[in-house]
């Protein structure tokens, strides 16, 4: 049952009706039941067992942390963190050796549970005595499969509050769902046809086709993941709950640091707060080497969080190198640019282009089926004209449509002002684009498997 299936529509309708017609004090319990029901329908009984076990363990360890002090408190945190990481590691990487399937959403709710334990330890938020509320925080179904990775401080108070139906918020939710469906079906799934044709047989192509496929995948993964997040946030809004945004126009970033502030925000901010900053603090005596080590470790972990493959590791390490290089050369670059008097819009656009290409290179490694494919790709990007079956993969209408969307993206400001003036027309156009121009297939969201 995916977000775009009729089954999900039926499930959501029942859940919404039950939620808003129930007395306010019963709503959290209902939402918990529906969230576990969703987990059961999508992931099966084992997914429910794992979700419940992680919830129960988080509650128990948080209680132990809250009730103790000194070394016992630290030991409780250490043990809790270790247990959760072992659970995640066993399922995530044990699968490679024993054929275990990753329980639904485990990577996301384990990270949410870890941040909760650390926040309780650091007394950033109190221990949550209400077990069902904590279970709901981890299991809330719109974000269960692919996040965003919510912090207890943001989500728990909303889940426990007595919500009142707000039609404006619900309409906003509907708009977000629509935007998400557009990104997924009209852009990401259409691009995936080209991306799969090229990346699944890299050695059959060269030159411009490979280059276009690299750009296409960069946009595909963004629209796919951002589309999912929009739908998740939209569905949450229908229940009167705000989830944090996960993307903020990442390809307009002028540096890698900025990119990671705009890309998969809930995950990157988690890494920053719970991994990078503690590492920087621990390695502060080592100066530059400490920054490099912290960057490389953080991004290597970010890479293998996606799975146990060389491609994911290299993706993470590349970003580690980018980040360390970016931080270390920042002053020198600024001096260089100031000396030459380079400034203004042109410089911003150049920085954007460079950042985008650095990111695109990393995503190409991410998408390639092997490192040898990646090596072939980067050594055959030259060669000029379109030589392979590029035209056979996408039809003229698809190409024209994607070009139109790209132009609309580039001329975002006029489009935004048009949307503000004619919201009904733009929404109506999106509805029809999803119905008539969306790819009618069952392509899962890319980040579903992580």
């Amino acid at each position: 049952m995916s977000f775009y299936s009729l089954k999900f529509l039926a499930f959501l309708s029942v859940a919404l009706a039950a939620y808003w017609f129930a007395p306010a004090r019963r709503r959290p319990a209902l939402l918990l039941a529906f969230s576990y029901g969703f987990c059961l329908l999508v992931g099966g009984a084992r997914a429910v067992q794992t979700l419940f076990a992680v919830g129960l363990l988080s509650y128990s360890f948080a209680r132990a942390i809250d009730a103790s002090s000194g070394r016992t408190r630290s030991a409780a945190l250490f043990l809790g963190t270790l247990v959760l990481i072992v659970i995640l590691g066993c399922f995530k990487y044990g699968g490679a050796f024993r054929g275990w399937l990753l329980p639904l959403g485990l990577s996301y709710y384990v990270f949410a549970a870890l941040s909760y334990l650390i926040d309780v330890y650091l007394e950033k938020r109190p221990f949550e005595k209400d077990l069902p509320a904590l279970l709901l925080h981890l299991a809330f179904f719109p974000k269960l499969i692919q996040g965003p990775i919510e912090r207890a401080g943001d989500l728990l108070p909303q889940l426990k509050a007595e919500n009142r139906f707000d039609s404006a918020r619900a309409a906003e939710g509907g708009r977000l769902i629509l935007a998400g469906l557009f990104k997924k079906f009209v852009i990401a799934d259409r691009l995936s046809l080209l991306v799969a044709a090229v990346f699944d047989h890299v050695a059959d192509h060269r030159g411009l086709v490979l280059l276009i496929a690299v750009y296409a995948f960069t946009w595909q993964i963004y629209c796919d993941f951002a589309g999912y997040t929009d739908i998740a946030r939209g569905v949450a809004k229908l229940f009167g709950i705000e989830l944090r945004p996960n993307f903020d126009r990442p390809f307009s970033s002028t540096s890698i640091q900025e990119f990671w502030r705009r890309w998969h925000i809930s995950f990157s901010s988690w890494l920053r707060d719970y991994l990078f900053m503690p590492l920087i603090a621990a390695l502060r005596d080592y100066g530059t080497a400490g920054i490099v080590a912290a960057s490389m470790t953080t991004f290597a972990i970010a890479g293998v969080w996606h799975g146990l493959s060389w491609g994911f590791l290299v993706f993470g390490l590349l970003h580690g190198v980018y980040m360390a290089g970016s931080v270390l050369t920042l002053k020198a670059r600024d001096r260089f640019l100031r000396r030459r008097g380079w400034d203004g819009a042109a410089l911003q656009w150049t920085r954007r282009l460079i950042t985008f290409h650095m990111v695109a290179v990393s995503f190409a490694v991410f998408r390639c089926r092997s490192l040898s494919d990646a090596l072939y790709l980067f050594t055959h990007l030259g060669g000029g004209a379109v030589q392979s079956a590029f035209g056979d993969v996408l039809s003229p209408i698809e190409l024209a449509g994607l070009a139109a969307i790209l132009l609309a993206g580039l001329y975002r400001m006029p489009f935004e002002s048009f949307r503000r003036r004619n919201p009904a027309l733009v929404d109506a156009a999106l509805v029809n684009a999803v119905i008539f121009l969306g790819v009618k297939s069952d392509a899962p969201f890319i980040y579903f498997k992580f």
Partner: protein
């Protein structure tokens, strides 16, 4: 909200109008009555680019032809033409496996055709997968969903709702096919490149002829699929094996469907000539070792004979003296091979005299 709903409907109507006008101009969405009329008057080929011809097209064609000999079956018999049976009015009501609806589909075609034009003889081409319980369509019918579907189709309202839903889904899929189409359909909208009804008929010179038989495109006829060794076939069967999954029994529901078809034929005094067509020699050599295939040949022929029909088992290409050159692929024969079958059927295609 009202502006949004109005704008959505207006834009939606514009999109639908664009797609529908394109389909109409290409001939893809002409009514079957109009197609049959054009085919009978002008002898045009009919092949849509964005839809599949449904059984209704074949039913209307058979009724209009008032055929004495009616062929029923899958794409394996679609090459059989009027010129192969010159002395009798012939119509080929076979349809592709994806649209036919298996044995029940053949029975439904016959039931509809006999309302207006009773053929004297039915040439019933039967494939092994139609009787295989592991064939995906048979599996679906036997599963919970299949049972639910049958239940819903028994009620008039739920049947109308389901039909409406599926028509909408298929229409949207056709729109998607138009968007994804790399062929020059935009040029075809302005200037048709050749005679024919439907995009494929115009561009590829392929499609159903006025006698219901199918004219394959030149590229298909000229291609030569390599024969496979027994090991290669076994390896192929290990993969996604839709057509030849091994099993130890025949699908009871398919056999019951065949019996119903035979009962209808007997009731209307129609002679039924069952034909099990040959496979390419390399595939036949593998199939004949499989228990299901042997069981299919004997059980189906017994059923046909028990219900008053005849059965001609030409599964072995050697029985007709055919070689790999007589096949387009592993299961589709050329017209020459079909002519040999017709010659062997001889007087069996004559009407019943009792």
């Amino acid at each position: 909200m009202i502006r949004f709903a109005g704008a959505s409907l207006l834009l939606g109507a514009c999109c639908v109008a664009f797609f529908e006008l394109a389909f109409l101009r290409l001939g893809d969405s002409l009514s079957y009555e109009r197609v049959i009329s054009l085919q009978r008057s002008q002898g045009l080929l009919y092949a849509q680019g964005f839809f599949n011809a449904r059984n209704e097209y074949k039913i209307l064609g058979a009724k209009a032809a008032k055929a004495e000999v009616l062929a029923l079956g899958s794409s394996r018999v679609m090459q059989l033409r009027q010129e192969d049976i010159p002395r009798r009015r012939f119509y080929n009501a076979a349809n592709s496996a994806s649209m036919l609806g298996e044995v029940d589909g053949m029975a439904a075609i016959l039931k509809s055709v006999v309302e207006d034009a009773v053929p004297r003889t039915v040439l019933l081409e039967l494939d092994p997968w139609l009787f295989n319980p592991n064939y995906p369509s048979n599996q679906k019918k036997a599963g919970g969903r299949g049972r639910l579907k049958r239940l819903l189709y028994e009620n008039r309202v739920s049947r109308a709702l389901l039909d409406g839903y599926w028509s909408l889904v298929w229409r949207l899929e056709s729109y998607e096919a138009l968007i994804r189409c790399g062929r020059p359909w935009l040029r075809e909208l302005a200037v048709p490149s050749g005679p024919g009804i439907g995009l494929d008929a115009r561009l590829l010179r392929t499609g159903f002829a006025s006698d219901g038989s199918f004219v394959y495109p030149r590229e298909y006829l000229e291609r030569k699929e390599p024969e496979l060794s027994a090991e290669e076939w076994e390896r192929a069967f290990q993969g996604r094996n839709v057509w030849y999954p091994e099993t130890d029994r025949l699908d009871a529901s398919a056999l019951a469907g065949l019996e119903r078809l035979m009962d209808l034929a007997r009731e209307r005094r129609i002679r039924v000539v069952g034909v099990l067509p040959p496979f390419r020699p390399d595939l036949y050599a593998v199939l004949e070792r499989r228990a299901f295939f042997r069981s299919f040949r004997t059980t189906v022929c017994e059923t046909l004979r028990r219900r008053g029909g005849e059965c001609f088992d030409f599964s072995s290409p050697a029985s007709l003296g055919l070689s790999a050159a007589d096949f387009y692929d592993e299961k589709h024969m050329n017209q020459r091979a079909w002519r040999q079958i017709v010659a062997r059927l001889g007087r069996a295609l004559e009407p019943k005299t009792d």
